[in-house]
């Protein structure tokens, strides 16, 4: 039992923290998110140079021999700075698919480009009617000759506007909600028949509706076994959830500190509002919510390697805790800041919006409570 970071991990954290502080201050981040192209390829290159994009990959995969703990560190620091660049989609998710099920050729083709910062991925899985169910897939991949033909519509695909490649779930057999029959493909966004409508999201990211119209995909771009993609998707999404939890607790840390600082300086009725016992207890509750979120992030990160049921329960438990804590912390931060907390000018509202979106990303609190319940009582 050990909750300590290695000296290398501490160094990694310091590097990222410095990079975020220097390159991603609040005004810069806001400006980037509101202008085209909505991210900074140059910053992405810096990530690559610093080795961030290879941090969680093994040395044999061309990475720096880290693990999910490294992704946790990156995401926590990114959460503190509201970083919009698609580390989650590219490194955690696409990287995760490749690590778990990529063929030697696929790894060869993609991993070095991910680690080097040349390729950016998006994960096209949700659909207009699928809500949060990863098995609810209407997009079809029809076998044809040596490959597949994809047709369908993927909804709110984060980072798709600047992705070079997409990871796409599609149905190779079965009915819309069957767990069998789901397959996973790598599709270059430039492939014929792929079209997108791009838009910003409320939390300052970018996303697309992605349409597939008779898109031909060679069999070599299938990741894992045909029809058996669902458990793979679940495994990767649980890793993405762990990373999101880290991002969320990073965001909560800053939001708590900002609110605490504000409560010590803002005066009402002749004294700092932090003197009022009601606010003191609410700040204490925010602190506890944050501490419990850190605990759950560690918990899920360290349990990603457990057997399937334990891993899923860990991911759902963490997502539930983080969802509730994020709501509490973000709502209270705005409330304690009063009118100022409502403005676009302070970072408070931006953390509020990001934490709100995290709550529903990869399944909201209720969805994960139900998954946890079903696993717990089965």
């Amino acid at each position: 039992m050990d909750f300590n970071f290695t000296p290398e991990q501490d160094t990694l954290r310091d590097q990222i923290a410095r990079l975020v502080r220097d390159q991603n201050d609040f005004d810069t981040r806001r400006k980037v998110s509101r202008s085209e192209p909505g991210w900074r390829p140059a910053l992405w290159s810096q990530f690559a140079e610093l080795g961030l994009l290879g941090a969680p990959f093994s040395e044999e995969d061309g990475g720096f021999g880290g693990s999910v703990v490294e992704s946790m560190i990156v995401m926590e620091e990114f959460g503190k700075g509201l970083v919009i660049e698609p580390y989650l989609q590219t490194v955690v998710i696409a990287g995760g698919f490749l690590r778990h099920a990529g063929s030697a050729a696929q790894k060869e083709d993609h991993l070095a480009s991910i680690i080097g910062g040349e390729r950016v991925f998006a994960f096209a899985y949700s659909e207009p009617k699928s809500r949060f169910d990863l098995n609810d897939v209407s997009t079809t991949a029809r076998r044809e000759g040596d490959g597949y033909v994809l047709n369908g519509h993927k909804a709110v695909v984060l980072a798709a506007p600047f992705a070079s490649h997409l990871i796409v779930t599609a149905r190779t057999s079965g009915a819309q909600r069957d767990k069998g029959g789901v397959s996973v493909f790598i599709v270059p966004k430039a492939a014929k028949g792929v079209s997108t409508r791009d838009y910003p999201t409320v939390d300052g990211l970018r996303a697309s509706e992605v349409y597939f119209e008779n898109v031909h995909v060679p069999a070599s771009d299938l990741i894992g076994a045909a029809d058996h993609g669902f458990p793979l998707v679940e495994a990767v999404v649980d890793e993405a959830i762990a990373a999101l939890c880290a991002e969320a607790h990073g965001a909560m840390k800053v939001l708590n500190q900002t609110t605490l600082d504000y409560s010590k300086t803002r005066k009402q009725f002749g004294q700092p509002i932090g003197n009022f016992q009601v606010l003191q207890h609410r700040l204490a509750d925010m602190f506890m919510a944050y501490e419990q979120s850190v605990s759950m992030t560690y918990m899920v990160t360290l349990k990603l390697g457990e057997p399937e049921t334990a891993r899923k329960m860990a991911a759902s438990a963490a997502k539930v805790q983080i969802g509730k804590a994020g709501r509490l912390v973000s709502q209270e931060a705005v409330q304690i800041h009063g009118g100022m907390g409502m403005t676009d000018e302070l970072n408070v509202g931006h953390f509020f919006k990001r934490l709100t979106m995290i709550e529903s990303q990869f399944g909201n609190t209720d969805w994960h409570l139900r998954r946890f319940t079903e696993l717990s009582n089965s």
Partner: protein, 398 residues
């Protein structure tokens, strides 16, 4: 004890309902769910009400009001909510007007009130300041006498719809030497076109523009623009804050919003079934409906007390707290219902094809900004913390 409306009240309800069906214009119908309501929208609706003789439901007849009973006012609100009409901005109609009726001189009353009634003047409220949010009495904006003018310097903030306004009523410090912060404050009316008044937008986190900073730099207004006595403004301000709290609970609008939420939840799918069949979601909607029923009957009890002349009193803090909690919860659940399509954001980005947003269902477009925007309700109008302080002090004697 009896819950039923009298025959007269039922006839009145039918009259209101049929008026709204025939007279509420289509171009305003589509506005209600849009991002931004324009000033012209407000003016159009006020003109229609005015022409019908219902320009001021809550005013006494002598000022051109309807003279309705509190039950009739309640019914009118219910029907407007049911028809999803625009609201009427409260600043002139429900905030300033009662103060004028109680404390202004005849000349002021006969000049300002008709212009509020027919929509000529659009008012906004100059209360909060950057350093004085819930702690209103610590305001710093000064008004100094100079010849036949007040000269006003200072800054107000959170001035809602100041960018639409023709006039602003301003709390100013006129006696800086007063012993208590509540003393030495005056209530002054300022035409917003007066040189030296500058309205700067505050963009809120939902991307909307409702509130502003309003700056006063050597703004000169006639001495006669003061309401009531010099240095007695705090009394009028407090009068304004406790007066006309009916409707503060927003019950009728929230009932309509519950209907909308249930409609959305009957369309949005969860595991292939309408999400309203999801036990967790259904429970949350039911809890909200039940909370709203409790609030509705608490408001009815308050109205009954008021009708007996007992006054709403500090119990109206209950209506404010519970009403805003419900309004916030409604937007939370709506955002939850729409799933992934809560994320796309359109405000400020040019849309193709006019009113229709291109991505996801219509009802989802505004769900996340609405959730963010409604956080304001527990902050403004005396934060919900202040309301609990009021209950503790005024009701419980703590």
């Amino acid at each position: 004890m009896d819950l039923h409306y009298s025959a007269e009240d039922l006839a009145f309800r039918d009259e209101v309902r049929s008026f709204l069906e025939t007279s509420y214009p289509d171009h305003l119908r589509s506005r209600a769910s849009r991002d931004e309501v324009t000033k012209q929208d407000f003016l159009d609706w006020q003109k229609i009400l005015y022409n019908r003789g219902w320009g001021a439901p809550a005013w006494p007849k002598e000022y051109g009001g309807t003279g309705w009973s509190s039950t009739q006012k309640y019914i009118f609100q219910e029907e407007c909510a049911r028809a999803e009409t625009l609201g009427v901005p409260p600043f002139g109609m429900s905030m300033l007007a009662p103060v004028l009726m109680a404390f202004a001189n005849e000349k002021q009353k006969s000049y300002y009130l008709p212009r509020i009634l027919d929509g000529t003047d659009f008012w906004c409220q100059g209360y909060s300041e950057p350093g004085a949010g819930s702690d209103l009495a610590s305001l710093k904006t000064r008004a100094e006498k100079d010849g036949d003018s007040w000269v006003i310097n200072g800054q107000k903030t959170w001035t809602t719809l100041a960018h639409f306004a023709d006039w602003i009523f301003v709390l100013c410090r006129t006696d800086p030497t007063a012993r208590k912060p509540q003393e030495g404050i005056s209530f002054i009316l300022v035409n917003i076109k007066t040189p030296g008044v500058e309205v700067r937008p505050i963009i809120t986190m939902d991307g909307g523009h409702e509130v502003n900073e309003t700056w006063f730099t050597d703004v000169r207004v006639p001495l006669e623009n003061i309401v009531g006595e010099e240095n007695q403004g705090w009394t009028y301000a407090k009068y304004l804050l406790v007066h006309e709290r009916s409707g503060i609970a927003g019950v009728a609008r929230s009932k309509k919003a519950v209907e909308r939420l249930k409609h959305i939840a009957s369309i949005e799918l969860d595991r292939g079934e309408p999400i309203i069949r999801n036990a967790d979601f259904a429970r949350k909607v039911a809890e909200l409906e039940i909370d709203l029923t409790a609030l509705e009957f608490t408001e009815l009890r308050t109205l009954a007390r008021e009708a007996q002349g007992k006054g709403a009193g500090p119990e109206s803090s209950v209506l404010k707290i519970k009403g805003t909690e419900i309004q916030q919860r409604l937007t939370e659940l709506t955002l939850e219902a729409v799933g992934v399509y809560g994320a796309p954001y359109f405000r400020g980005f040019p849309m193709e094809g006019g009113n229709q947003f291109p991505i996801g269902p219509d009802y989802a477009h505004h769900s996340a900004p609405a959730y963010a925007n409604m956080r304001k309700t527990s902050i403004y109008g005396g934060s919900n913390e202040i309301q609990r302080n009021i209950i503790a002090k005024m009701v419980l004697g703590l």
